[in-house]
């Protein structure tokens, strides 16, 4: 990470492709401030009508889980198949359930 304060900080970019859908992470840009980040993101990520709204978030503001923690975090869901509807046996003939 360059610590020179003349370097533009990194911004993570989220694009909403269509009204009503969620904003999805698409990548990042460097920019001096939020407004410039939006403009740069517009140029970098929406040249083919990919979006109708942009969120920019300072990359430094994002905390992420560590890859080596993945097992600890996510394995507990592996044996909980009862969280899925297909786990249950429905009586023969029952409809709309």
């Amino acid at each position: 990470m360059a610590s020179n304060e003349n370097n533009w900080p990194l911004w993570e970019i989220f694009i909403q492709s269509k009204r009503g859908l969620e904003h999805k992470h698409v990548g990042s840009v460097h920019a001096a401030d939020a407004q410039m980040a939006i403009e740069n993101a517009r140029d970098v990520y929406t040249r083919r009508q990919e979006g109708q709204s942009i969120w920019v978030v300072p990359a430094a503001a994002i905390s992420a889980s560590q890859p080596e923690d993945a097992a600890m975090l996510f394995d507990p869901a592996d044996d909980k198949t009862y969280r899925h509807p297909t786990f249950y046996t429905m009586p023969e003939g029952a409809k709309y359930i």
């Binding site: 009204r19 249950y88 046996t89 009586p91 029952a94």
Partner: protein
């Protein structure tokens, strides 16, 4: 004034074109207020809804049922959080929203003011209460406010097991000993009418409905949803050999719908007014949980501050 009128026209044009409204869009104040009320009530219902079911976690009949019930109650907590977040996008703080629940100012679904007396009630809640909620929530996946609609899509996906696990409990009990079958029937008897009340007043007596439909917050009326629920559920009861506690229930061949009896609206109004069997108990439980958790919230803030100080000194 004319400017607001134009904004309102533009807003309605967006709605009419089936475009979603997003948090930063202009919206009529009444639209915002209606959503804040509806989404926060919905969130509170998820949270308070954990109480009647939580009552049976320690007494679930076997480990399988216990794990399932835990997973379901966990989901309800998560669904409350999705909805509180959606509510915050409308400019109200989380603290204020929760304070309104704790003070009794905000409402939640009246169904949770009924007690869970037997294990069969857990089956009846999953089958009927979640079944009724899902009818409403499937409709809300297409509601006009973006964050609410997106929360509902997630919730519906996760809830798909809730109704099935409840129906499975009922089916197993109904096939069990005569006592078990009777327990299932008794639960159905007690939960049937309150479940029908979940859809709210009749269309004729629902003053805000027309506006909510015009704004596409709601997309089907209370009576329509209630009728669909009845049509589907009666068949499911027949399959497992239980009977719906409504002597007037009758299939109408020409309308292709069931005709059914009369909801006791005085009971509904009484429970909404705070006089149901468990209103006081539910609110007391939420207040106690909130008060008991105060030290955790304070400790977490103190810890975060201490860590930030240490990191600053190390830098």
């Amino acid at each position: 004034m004319t400017q607001v009128k134009n904004l309102e026209d533009l807003f309605q044009a967006k709605i009419d074109a089936d475009l979603k409204i997003e948090p930063k869009d202009w919206m009529p104040e009444k639209y915002r207020k209606t959503l804040v009320r509806q989404i926060s009530q919905h969130a509170h219902s998820e949270v308070v809804g954990m109480l009647p079911e939580g009552n049976w976690i320690t007494r679930a009949p076997n480990l399988r049922r216990k794990a399932i019930l835990l997973a379901k109650v966990q989901d309800e907590a998560g669904h409350g959080l999705y909805l509180y977040s959606a509510c915050e996008t409308l400019g109200v703080s989380r603290e204020q929203t929760i304070d309104d629940l704790l003070s009794g100012k905000a409402k939640y679904s009246s169904i949770f003011n009924y007690p869970t007396l037997t294990w069969a009630d857990i089956g009846a809640i999953g089958w009927l209460v979640d079944g009724a909620a899902i009818m409403n929530q499937v409709m809300l996946c297409r509601t006009s406010y973006g964050p609410y609609a997106r929360a509902m899509v997630r919730i519906c996906k996760e809830e798909s097991f809730h109704q099935r696990q409840g129906y499975e409990i009922m089916a197993v009990l109904a096939k069990g000993t005569p006592e078990q079958k009777e327990m299932a029937q008794d639960a159905l008897n007690r939960w049937w009418w309150p479940s029908l009340m979940m859809f709210g007043p009749t269309d004729a007596n629902s003053p805000h409905s027309a506006e909510s439909m015009r704004w596409k917050i709601k997309r089907q009326s209370n009576d329509e949803l209630r009728q669909t629920f009845i049509d589907r559920t009666v068949q499911q009861a027949e399959v497992i050999g239980l009977s719906i506690p409504d002597p007037k229930l009758k299939w109408n061949e020409s309308t292709q719908h069931y005709e059914w009896g009369e909801i006791d609206w005085s009971e509904f109004n009484n429970v909404v007014a705070g006089n149901g069997p468990c209103n006081k108990e539910r609110l007391a439980a939420r207040n106690k949980a909130h008060a008991d958790g105060a030290w955790v919230r304070e400790a977490a803030i103190a810890h975060a501050k201490k860590k930030a100080r240490k990191e600053m000194m190390a830098a």
